[in-house]
């Protein structure tokens, strides 16, 4: 368990953050820039000292103001990947990678494994100044991993990169998650990164933790939509690959409460994958539709109907334990007389595969 409960003040900015997340898996700290995300992980790393509170990871206390505990940075054993990489300019890539290596037998991952995982073999003898932004971040990630940390802290490691470089690194981050049994705290203001990489999400707004929970749970909450829905709202579903239809090139993903057909995925049956269904990509029908081209029709129950006087209304749906989210015109809601508790059929127009496999958007199947 990662447990943080701290306060600090910096000029006009006040941070007052408390949350607990499981210490295995990836925790995303998500919020707008200036909301205090980086300050939180800097406090965890020991780079800033809170004025009040306590920080502990898996039972070991890193900071406790009342007990007078403030572990030095070097003793916290936390890998930190900085937004701007911070490679040592006077050392080769290899020496950068080995800087934090600890003496001792139990070294996991090894240099060879890290080089392999992050694709660094051709860079080892080079100087940081000759690397591209994406290469620098990969080296920075490798360097943090080789220090054999208990936790990896990442402060928007992709923020300084353009979208092509981001796309280059994301698969490495996703593979990191699968290959290494290491817990990661990932600061980001990009929802697509969070959905792709994180299990748990801590929503930070103006120096306070607005909510903390699984990515699926938080993205389906209406009240958090102003924070979680950047451009368009949508629900995130945890799915399992259940079958492949080689004849038509399709893959069936099942989730609690139903299943979805998507274009063939290069995954084995039983693999877990996370998909996102935009609220605009769901249409509702009161009776089981027939004679339509859509393959994905899910039986759901209406849970809530969003307020608002605009032409569009959000409708919360539940299929088994899975929350979905549909955005309809207010007129449709009124004409179909949709009310909470009603059984409706959700017609899914498109699904995007958010990870960990790939970020392709699969249109209308």
């Amino acid at each position: 368990m990662i447990s943080v409960d701290i306060s600090l003040r910096r000029g006009d900015f006040a941070l007052d953050a408390a949350f607990e997340t499981p210490s295995n898996g990836v925790t995303a700290i998500y919020g707008r820039s200036g909301s205090g995300k980086t300050t939180i992980i800097n406090a965890v790393a020991g780079l800033v000292r809170p004025e009040r509170g306590r920080i502990s990871i898996a039972g070991s206390v890193l900071f406790d103001r009342d007990a007078g505990i403030d572990l030095p940075i070097a003793k916290r054993r936390l890998g930190y990947v900085f937004q701007e990489g911070r490679l040592f300019p006077h050392m080769s890539v290899e020496r950068n990678l080995l800087y934090g290596r600890r003496s001792g037998a139990d070294q996991h991952p090894t240099l060879a494994e890290t080089v392999e995982l992050l694709g660094l073999s051709s860079l080892l003898t080079r100087r940081p100044s000759s690397l591209s932004g994406g290469e620098r971040q990969r080296v920075a990630i490798g360097r943090a991993l080789l220090a054999n940390p208990h936790i990896l802290l990442m402060d928007e490691p992709l923020a300084s990169l353009d979208s092509a470089r981001r796309a280059e690194i994301l698969p490495y981050l996703a593979s990191l998650r699968r290959a290494l049994d290491i817990s990661v705290v990932y600061v980001s203001h990009q929802m697509d990164e969070v959905i792709r990489l994180a299990d748990t999400m801590v929503l930070v707004e103006a120096g306070k933790v607005a909510a903390c929970g699984s990515v699926e749970a938080l993205t389906s909450r209406f009240d958090l939509a102003p924070l979680t829905a950047e451009r368009d709202a949508g629900a995130v579903l945890a799915c399992t690959v259940s079958e492949h239809d080689t004849r038509f090139g399709l893959t069936r993903l099942s989730f609690s409460g139903g299943s979805l057909w998507v274009g063939a995925l290069d995954l084995a049956v039983g693999d877990r994958v996370r998909v996102r269904i935009g609220a605009r990509d769901i249409a509702l029908a009161l009776t089981p539709p027939s004679g339509i081209s859509m393959l994905n029709v899910i039986e759901t129950t209406v849970t809530e109907i969003g307020a608002g006087q605009s032409s569009q209304v959000d409708v919360g749906l539940m299929a088994g334990d899975t929350a979905l989210w549909a955005r309809l015109t207010r007129r449709s809601v009124s004409e179909l007389a949709i009310t909470p508790g009603m059984k409706v059929h959700a017609l899914v127009k498109s699904v995007s595969i958010a990870g960990p496999a790939r970020g392709a958007r699969l249109e209308a199947i």
């Binding site: 790393a45 020991g46 780079l47 030095p72 940075i73 070097a74 003793k75 916290r76 054993r77 936390l78 890998g79 930190y80 900085f82 701007e84 911070r86 040592f88 300019p89 006077h90 800087y99 934090g100 600890r102 100087r127 940081p128 100044s129 000759s130 360097r143 943090a144 220090a147």
Partner: protein, 236 residues
């Protein structure tokens, strides 16, 4: 090329020796002072800053006289040095090196301090997150990254020491073979009426030494800049 006279050889070797020892005194002292001035904050910091910079603004003769009073045989520090270590500074080449070092220190401090202040302190924090303690951070990150400043500081100190005159002549006098560096030898020659050749020869020697030092420093500065990557060249 006519060979050098014994007096010229003495003056040249002495100048180089004084310059060398002056740099050796200046670097650690300058580094320490620069770190204190760049990284620490404490009441009375302005006073330390002022004292270190005094040799830049005071007439060198004043510094020489202060050295004579404090470090001479009968001075507080000088007497102690003589009784404890049997070291005599006044009227010896060691004293000339000390006088040159005191005059050069502010230049060294300024160069190193600039380098420290321009350094990305995030790199030190990054090293700490990788498990490095204070000493390791200093030796592997701080020191190599302020190498351009150390180099500039050393070159400035060496150049300043080669040219030192006022404080030296006041503190250690002008003794051929002991404290008569190139500028002092030249000064002695200009005091003798008649043939100008010895003075001209000394001038040429001084120019050659200074030029060689400049070329060597430029070469070193380039190598250091290359090592640190194109992004961080020498601050001078």
């Amino acid at each position: 090329m006519p060979s050098l006279t014994p007096v010229e050889i003495d003056a040249l070797l002495l100048s180089l020796r004084v310059g060398f020892w002056s740099v050796l005194i200046c670097l650690p002292l300058g580094l320490l002072t620069a770190i204190v001035l760049a990284r620490c904050s404490f009441p009375g910091k302005w006073l330390l800053d002022g004292i270190v910079h005094l040799p830049l603004v005071l007439p060198p003769v004043v510094i020489g006289y202060v050295l004579l009073v404090t470090l001479g045989r009968r001075g507080v520090l000088g007497g102690w040095l003589y009784e404890t270590f049997e070291i005599t500074l006044a009227f010896t080449w060691k004293g000339a090196a000390v006088a040159a070092a005191v005059m050069a220190l502010p230049l060294t401090v300024r160069a190193i301090r600039l380098s420290l202040e321009q350094m990305d302190r995030g790199l030190e924090a990054a090293a700490r997150t990788l498990g490095a303690g204070d000493l390791r951070v200093f030796l592997t990150i701080t020191l190599p990254l302020c190498l351009p400043g150390l180099l500039t500081g050393a070159i400035l100190a060496f150049a300043r020491s080669l040219g030192e005159f006022g404080a030296t002549i006041t503190f250690v006098s002008n003794i051929p073979g002991e404290t008569q560096t190139l500028p002092l030898a030249l000064f002695a020659e200009t005091q003798v009426p008649g043939d100008a050749t010895p003075a001209i020869r000394l001038t040429v020697i001084a120019v050659v030494v200074a030029l060689s030092a400049l070329v060597a420093s430029e070469f070193l500065a380039r190598r250091v800049a290359n090592r640190l990557g194109s992004g961080s060249a020498s601050p001078s």
